[in-house]
Symmetry: C2
Subunit: 119 residues, 2 copies
């Protein structure tokens, strides 16, 4: 269950803040893919719930917090998984998810403002 389709290695070339240097087309495509994973209210809240849980969290504890159906949650979790933002493991009847902080760190670095020296 560890199928990440975007590895951090493939995009290490754009780990420079965008205020430092412009991204090339390839980096932009890969970066946009990750942002797209967070560009939905349900997924962004899913990500924050999983990330702030402090430990792995069961799908059965996540689904009741949303107004959408189970399959929809499952779909969104898959998108987050394919973006390399979370990973999961089935343990018995339940499936547990946890965050992959490296990806968050990478995004945070990409968007960071190095020197806020206002002119």
């Amino acid at each position: 269950m560890s199928k990440q389709e975007l590895s951090i290695e493939t995009v290490d070339g754009c780990c420079v803040p965008i205020m430092d240097a412009a991204l090339d087309s390839t980096a932009a495509v890969e970066g946009a893919t990750v942002f797209k994973a967070l560009a939905d209210p349900v997924r962004l809240r899913l990500m924050s719930i999983i990330a702030s849980a402090g430990a792995e969290i069961c799908v059965c504890d996540i689904t009741p917090q949303f107004d959408v159906s189970g399959p929809t949650i499952s779909h969104h979790l898959k998108v987050l998984r394919e973006a390399g933002l979370v990973d999961c493991e089935r343990r018995g009847t339940w499936v547990y998810y946890w965050p992959l902080p490296e990806r968050l760190t990478w995004l945070s670095t990409l968007l960071s403002v190095p020197t806020p020296a206002t002119t």
Copy 2:
């Protein structure tokens, strides 16, 4: 030309890193709107070009760097503008754009990993 539709004030409630606390629905909607603005390769590259320019940059210097039409660039710039990521001003014949780093800082904070203490 300073119509930001999302002010930073309206979303200050979610300036806590998502690893610290889960977002509520409202914050998730507003956050997702900003991420959506960066969730397209053209817009992400636009943002990086404007942000890394060091100063304001003319649309006429931006458009030639892309393979899409002028109106398409104009459309994407409008999305970035409405997300509060850039602002612009017409000066004579040309229109100049510059980044609004506060928004980038806000996103970066949202995604930051407070204590990378790996278990």
